[in-house]
């Protein structure tokens, strides 16, 4: 059993993918490979105050985080998406920095687990 935490809900993601832990590791790898480039695009979009791009990138990160049941990362991505839709720069900056913090926590958690 995996410990309960607010980073990843292992039970729910494993249930969705038929309990295949190896496949879950593969999905986590895909997530990590994609995160950096999406995050960099988001930082640029925030700097340029491109709210359409902020909303789209937030939506995209929200979807992939939800797929892996990454609880806090999904929350922060949702903030970013909402900020984009509301043209709220402050919220977008807050969400973006929250994403970075949560991603680092997630990475450390996975490294510990390995």
């Amino acid at each position: 059993m995996f410990p309960e935490n607010d980073i990843i809900d292992f039970a729910s993601v494993l249930e969705r993918i038929g309990g295949d832990k190896e496949f879950l590791n593969e999905l986590i790898q895909i997530y990590m490979e994609d995160f950096d480039s999406t995050y960099n695009s988001l930082v640029q979009a925030v700097a340029a105050q491109d709210f359409t791009a902020i909303q789209e990138l937030g939506h995209s990160l929200k979807g992939s985080s939800a797929n892996l049941s990454l609880i806090q990362l999904r929350e922060k991505a949702y903030l970013v998406e909402t900020a984009g839709g509301e043209y709220n720069l402050e919220l977008a900056q807050q969400g973006t920095s929250g994403l970075k913090t949560e991603y680092e926590r997630f990475k450390a958690y996975i490294a510990d687990r390995d």
């Binding site: 993601v13 249930e15 969705r16 993918i17 038929g18 496949f23 593969e26 999905l27 895909i30 997530y31 490979e33 994609d34 789209e56 939506h59 995209s60 929200k62 979807g63 992939s64 939800a66 797929n67 892996l68 049941s69 949702y78």
Partner: protein
């Protein structure tokens, strides 16, 4: 069955692909709406293979989103007469209001992300069931109930298409009208069910005897019309004789039924401008001659050459 995935999110796409291939479906993976449209347009079942039958489309995608793609598939499909594609839209949990818009755009079903495998499998099964019902309904409008052959309208449509195609390629089309001998007598002496049994058996045997790319339909009560692409007059006579021998003795539940068939044949060879109507009329004339010659034979009429 072949399924298309249009999903820009790598994880969602990977989860979908993993399950779908495990369940034995063929898969086409695309990352945006434009790629998906190109895949659907090039693999849509018009080349004789079933093509992509189910499409799983993400709502939010770059270039062409799921809803726009859905509309495009529906409007294009209608105008081009393409096979029906069963569409499942994917949408986020907090975008439930999108579902109505998606269904209005022509989607058949939807799934909210993240989804689990059992839900996905159930929805794909629903899709398969809907497609097979759709096919059955379509079949009923173009096939003959008793013989399961194409009906009169459909076989004439095939003949027209074939004449059109063959005239462009300067290839002859063969037409055979097969008329059951003594069916009226059999019906009155042994009952309609005996006659129906003979008709269904004759249909089955004729269908098994023709070439893979020939078509056969029920033209009248006791008549079958056969359309034979790229079939000149000599070849036509050989095929008709083979068919005649095949149905000469149909195994019957009744004793001693005379169950032969007369054949009238005509090839468009001598007149590449022949219309569907003139060829069928000529085939009818040939059948009449076969009946006059004592039935159970094949007669070919060669239309006059047009200069």
């Amino acid at each position: 069955m072949k399924i298309l995935i249009a999903e820009d999110d790598a994880i969602s796409s990977r989860v979908l692909a993993n399950s779908i291939t495990e369940w034995g479906y063929d898969l086409v993976i695309t990352r945006n709406g434009e790629e998906a449209w190109a895949a659907l347009a090039s693999d849509n079942g018009t080349n004789g293979h079933p093509g992509i039958q189910i499409a799983i489309l993400d709502w939010q995608m770059p270039k062409l989103d799921g809803v726009e793609l859905c509309r495009k598939i529906r409007s294009h499909g209608l105008s081009q007469g393409l096979a029906y594609i069963y569409i499942i839209l994917l949408t986020g949990r907090d975008h439930q209001e999108d579902i109505i818009r998606g269904l209005n755009a022509g989607a058949d079903d939807y799934m909210t992300k993240p989804f689990d495998q059992i839900e996905l499998q159930t929805r794909l099964k629903n899709g398969e069931r809907a497609l097979s019902q759709e096919k059955e309904a379509l079949d009923l409008t173009v096939t003959d109930r008793l013989t399961k052959l194409w009906n009169r309208d459909k076989i004439l449509e095939f003949l027209e298409d074939e004449l059109d195609r063959n005239s462009r390629r300067y290839q002859p089309t063969g037409v055979i009208l097969a008329d059951m001998d003594n069916l009226g007598k059999i019906n009155s002496q042994h009952g309609r069910s005996s006659g129906d049994h003979l008709l269904a058996e004759a249909a089955r045997i004729l269908k098994d005897t023709i070439r893979r790319y020939d078509r056969i339909g029920r033209y009248g009560d006791d008549e079958f019309l056969l359309v034979l692409p790229n079939c000149g007059k000599d070849h036509l006579t050989m095929i008709a004789e083979r068919l005649r021998r095949a149905v000469e003795t149909i195994p019957s539940i009744e004793v001693s039924l005379n169950s032969s068939v007369s054949f009238g044949c005509v090839s468009s060879q001598y007149s590449l401008t022949s219309s569907c109507h003139t060829l069928v009329a000529a085939a009818k004339k040939a059948v009449k001659k076969a009946k006059q010659q004592g039935r159970n034979c094949a007669v070919r009429i060669d239309p006059e050459r047009k200069n």
